[in-house]
């Protein structure tokens, strides 16, 4: 065998092998071709791309595929909001459907000043871990644990911890992606309409007596808010008041009467007056003279 053959034969053989494998791959790529709807990448581009999972799908890619596949609506993405929905609707050739803008809210006021602790917690500083250790360190077994899992879950800088170990929502940054709601082991986070401020700031379902020992700002189910509400938006069930945000006109009467300040929020000016005009039969509850504040100074003097 001469030198030329010694070089050419291996080259030829390896070349032939490569050619065969290449052809094989070419055929296989035809067989295993994944057909992608051309609208999927377009919808994908219209989505914010945060992969936050707020839509209920594993990520923006999955959400885009679901929208094109018809299993999700054009406004499936809560983060992109109306702008993204409109753009997607254009791609899909549908009318955009608008929903009310939502924002997260912390339904607990049990910061380290008002909610006593029954134990010290030494462990992973994560609410989902701490809840396994006998439901958290606070006396109240319903409220915020205060280790900030929701803050870690928030990808939009809408949540941060106050110095009193309670999360605070920046509603302008909140995109209602639902991640904090999913993360919170106590169900303290809730999505409510963006422009709604009045809420029951408590989750404690114990009887009033026990709630009082748990936290000084808990709902004791005294039903004063129910009596005072003009529209019947406030109800009490399981020793806990709750507000129907569709019925609530944000008149703020319940906030005024709440003895423990479990109900909070700024009332809408003129809401009650407008309601009175529309419903002439409605009578405003008479303001009872407050006795307690009058007594206290007298005691202090004695």
């Amino acid at each position: 065998m001469n030198t030329a053959a010694q070089i050419l034969i291996p080259v030829g053989i390896l070349g032939a092998m490569a050619l065969v494998f290449g052809l094989l791959l070419a055929v296989a790529s035809k067989i295993f071709e994944v057909k992608v709807d051309e609208r999927v990448p377009l919808v994908r581009d219209a989505l914010p791309g945060a992969n936050c999972g707020g839509c209920g799908f594993p990520g923006c890619d999955a959400c885009a595929a679901a929208i094109v596949g018809g299993t999700a609506a054009c406004n499936a993405c809560p983060v992109g909001g109306a702008a993204a929905a409109e753009e997607i609707a254009k791609i899909m050739g549908e009318e955009a459907i608008e929903g009310p803008r939502l924002a997260a809210m912390v339904l607990c006021q049990g910061d380290c000043e008002v909610a006593p602790r029954r134990a010290d917690y030494y462990g992973v500083m994560d609410c989902r871990e701490a809840v396994n250790a006998n439901g958290g360190a606070k006396d109240c077994r319903f409220g915020c644990i205060g280790y900030g899992s929701c803050v870690k879950a928030c990808k939009f800088d809408a949540l941060h911890m106050s110095d009193k170990m309670l999360p605070v929502v920046n509603r302008d940054n909140c995109t209602a992606c639902n991640q904090c709601v999913i993360t919170c082991p106590k169900g303290v986070m809730q999505l409510v309409p963006y422009d709604h401020d009045i809420r029951v700031n408590c989750k404690n379902m114990m009887k009033g007596k026990f709630t009082r020992t748990d936290c000084s700002k808990g709902c004791i189910a005294c039903r004063r808010c129910v009596k005072v509400c003009p529209t019947g938006a406030v109800t009490v069930a399981d020793n806990l008041a709750s507000i129907d945000y569709e019925k609530c006109i944000q008149c703020g009467l319940c906030v005024e009467v709440c003895p423990t300040h479990a109900l909070t929020g700024n009332k809408k000016e003129g809401a009650l007056e407008a309601y009175e005009k529309a419903h002439p039969e409605y009578k405003r509850p008479e303001a009872k003279p407050k006795k307690a504040p009058a007594k206290k100074p007298a005691k202090a003097e004695a």
Partner: protein, 190 residues
């Protein structure tokens, strides 16, 4: 009996990762979750089984007759690269989730030394066709066992209070070392 011995040897005694130290890259890279580790294990099993079969055929029908044994490495890499491409296409078609989860590590099987290692060892040990395939699959199962166990430990490590200096990769490497020591215990079996 011989094949059974090969199987036990491949999975436990001469475990590709923990005793031969081949295929460390995916072992450290794709072992953060048991699920992805398992997916990687399946992909490697498929590639290693097929690679041992095809490289055997290539060796004894093409390379040996033409006296080209010295081109073994290049020829085998060619076979493995093709196989990985094929596996990638199949997985993309059949399981997009697994495809996403494996990410960059799927193409990396191409350069996974465990796959090339098993092909070369088959020839070195003079195994016949059946033995080669069994050895390849056993090696891959050993790989899968090691990576899934490792992923389980790493998942727990995530939740433990580990000193800051060791958190992350350092503790993973220490864990891998301890696992290798533990697997040394099997060496008395054969």
């Amino acid at each position: 009996m011989n094949l059974l011995l090969l199987l036990v040897s491949g999975i436990f005694v001469h475990n590709f990762i923990l005793s031969r130290f081949l295929g460390i890259c995916p072992f450290l890279g794709v072992s953060k979750q048991i699920e992805t580790a398992f997916g990687m294990g399946i992909a490697v099993t498929f590639v290693m089984g097929l690679a041992s079969a095809i490289t055997y055929v290539v060796q004894y029908t093409i390379l040996v007759p033409y006296g080209l044994e010295y081109l073994q490495t290049i020829a085998f890499i060619l076979v493995i690269a093709t196989l990985v491409q094929l596996v990638e296409m199949v997985i993309k078609k059949t399981s997009p989730t697994l495809y996403e989860a494996l990410g960059v590590y799927l193409p990396l099987i191409t350069t996974n030394c465990a796959v090339l290692g098993v092909a070369l060892l088959n020839i070195q040990y003079g195994y016949n066709f059946i033995e080669s395939v069994v050895f390849g699959i056993a090696g891959a199962l050993g790989f899968m066992l090691a990576i899934v166990l490792f992923a389980g430990i790493r998942e727990r490590n995530e939740l433990s209070a580990i000193p800051k200096a060791l958190d992350g990769f350092p503790i993973a490497l220490i864990t891998a070392g301890l696992m290798a020591i533990a697997f040394l215990g099997f060496s008395g079996m054969l």
